[in-house]
């Protein structure tokens, strides 16, 4: 079953269409990776799917229902079903890590007993290995810790879909691999759908179930990760060869 479907979707800024005529089908309970070179529109697509930017054309369906980007109620429903892990973490600097993770619960369910919130926060932070850093502010955390903390915040209300915008960027290979493991465990433990935007080859090989490759403003490839690796397509081969070289340096 596909949880997100797009039909002839066009995304971009103002009148500039970064991506056009996208027909995507994102399967539920699996990890879909959106792949493409820098500037190919990966993050713009993610923002549109997460409800942050209205599309310039076409349609997005979430769990079978069309998303109305100009209806507050429709967007509120969508936001209740998604979590987003931003590229830089986007933790609020004025709050501690625990307060950041608690934020979605306290804002959406202000009547929730504080003890319950604290338990939820502890559990979420423990899952990402940050229980001992709950009282720290984002400025005191490393890049990897910020991303794990942001993942805990994205997961705390058990969203149906988690969007991850370049989770490995700026991280060393070991931290990056541990974050990949975390994404896999989220999928396996909670059966969540993850949409991961990346151009890190190692991450793709580790976590991807389905891969969407964007190139020249269009969907260039869509298939299983094994098909991607075996693909004879010129662009994909070039992309992987170059990424291999880049990663090894």
């Amino acid at each position: 079953m596909d949880i997100i479907e797009t039909r002839e979707l066009a995304v971009g800024y103002g009148d500039v269409r970064v991506l056009d005529e996208l027909d995507l089908a994102i399967p539920a309970g699996r990890i879909s990776v959106v792949l493409g070179v820098s500037g190919s529109g990966k993050s713009t697509l993610l923002k549109t799917l997460a409800g942050l930017m209205p599309p310039l054309g076409g349609e997005v369906r979430f769990a079978g229902a069309p998303v109305d980007y100009y209806s507050e109620a429709s967007l509120r429903t969508l936001y209740g079903k998604v979590g987003v892990l931003y590229q830089g973490g986007a933790l609020l600097n004025s709050l501690t890590l625990a307060e950041n993770v608690a934020l979605p619960v306290r804002m959406q369910f202000p009547e929730m007993p504080l003890g319950v919130v604290e338990d939820m926060v502890h559990s979420a932070l423990a899952q990402v290995g940050l229980a001992s850093s709950a009282g720290k502010h984002p400025a005191e955390l490393s890049g990897g810790m910020k991303k794990r903390g942001a993942l805990a915040r994205a997961l705390i209300l058990d969203p149906e879909v988690v969007f991850c915008d370049e989770p490995s960027s700026g991280l060393d290979p070991i931290t990056s691999a541990s974050l990949d493991d975390l994404l896999l465990s989220v999928k396996e433990t909670f059966g969540m759908t993850l949409v991961v935007v990346t151009h890190e080859l190692r991450s793709i090989e580790r976590v991807a179930d389905r891969v969407f490759v964007l190139n020249d403003g269009r969907l260039h490839f869509c298939g299983e990760s094994a098909d991607l690796v075996a693909s004879e397509d010129g662009f994909i081969k070039t992309f992987f060869l170059r990424k291999d070289g880049h990663d090894d340096t």
């Binding site: 936001y79 987003v84 986007a90 004025s94 804002m107 959406q108 202000p110």
Partner: protein, 367 residues
Amino acid sequence: MTPGMNGPDPAAKAPETLLLPRRLRAPEVPGLFREVQRRAEEGPLTLDFREVEEFDSSALALVNLVRRLFPGVEAVNMKGALARAGESFIERPRPAEPGPAGRGWGLGRFFGGVTDAFLLRVKAVGRFLAMFGDEIYHLGVYLRERKGVYPGETWNQLYFMGYRSFPIVCLLIFLVGVTISITSVEQLSLFGADVYIADLVGLAMLKELVPLMTGIILAGKVGAAITAELSSMVVLEEVDALRTMGVVPEKYLMVPRLLAITMAVPLLVAMADIVGIFGGVLVARLTFGMAPSAFLDQMMNSVGWSDFAWGLIKTVVFGWAVVVGSGYKGLTVGRSAEEVGRATTESVVLSITLIVLIDCVFAFILY
């Protein structure tokens, strides 16, 4: 450059030939372009590259430009490396054909530009007013439901806007009180009316100077800080993060600030009134020996509680204008660090403009 001419025959309209020099690099290109331009306007022209040995990309760009500007100009004898380089030269994409409004350089274009700029301003004013309305709505909903704002945030903001602004507001207002008294007492003494310094300082401080100065200090201190903070949050995707958490950023971020300014301003104004008048008392005492009690008695003859209340109301409205104006600038910023600085500057200008406009409206109401 050694341009050569081969048998011009104007009657037959045969193309003139311009033999290009051996070296054709950036230093030679401007002069050559002027020469080509002059000759191309006179009639058909052929650029002969047979002697060119040294060239760079500016020469290729020149050929490209000349071909585009003067379709009658032909380039011949481009061979070898020059021909290959010419083929690999990537032409700059031509700008889109301008619409009727953008064509030409005349009055139409000028008025088109003015109209566009005006419409952009109108749209910005519309967005600002819409945000002002939204904030009033969010404030009302919050006061009724007590949801959507982080607990304790209002007190944090009150500490920053009120307590941290208190010293600078008091210092500046005291100095304004002293200055206005010194300049006034000199003029009043010419008519033997020194005693009316109390009336003047009292009225000016309570109704005009304290509200205006407090508003301007808040614009510079509080407004700039709000814009810088919010715009940084936008750039760091924190505002997007709030939105996808189901939090309304315009409410979460703005309502505590609006509540804080509403609570902070009366305290600031009360203290500012006191220190401003104290400045007047001090000058009156030191310049012509007027007793503080006499000063206050005299002042109370012309100043009433309504003057204090109007000053307070004005300053609260100024405070709202500062918070909403700077919040608007912060939340509508672009996505680059450069825009954070620009938005912060614009927010101070916007806040002060709003304060002066609102003050003008109050002047019509009060006087």
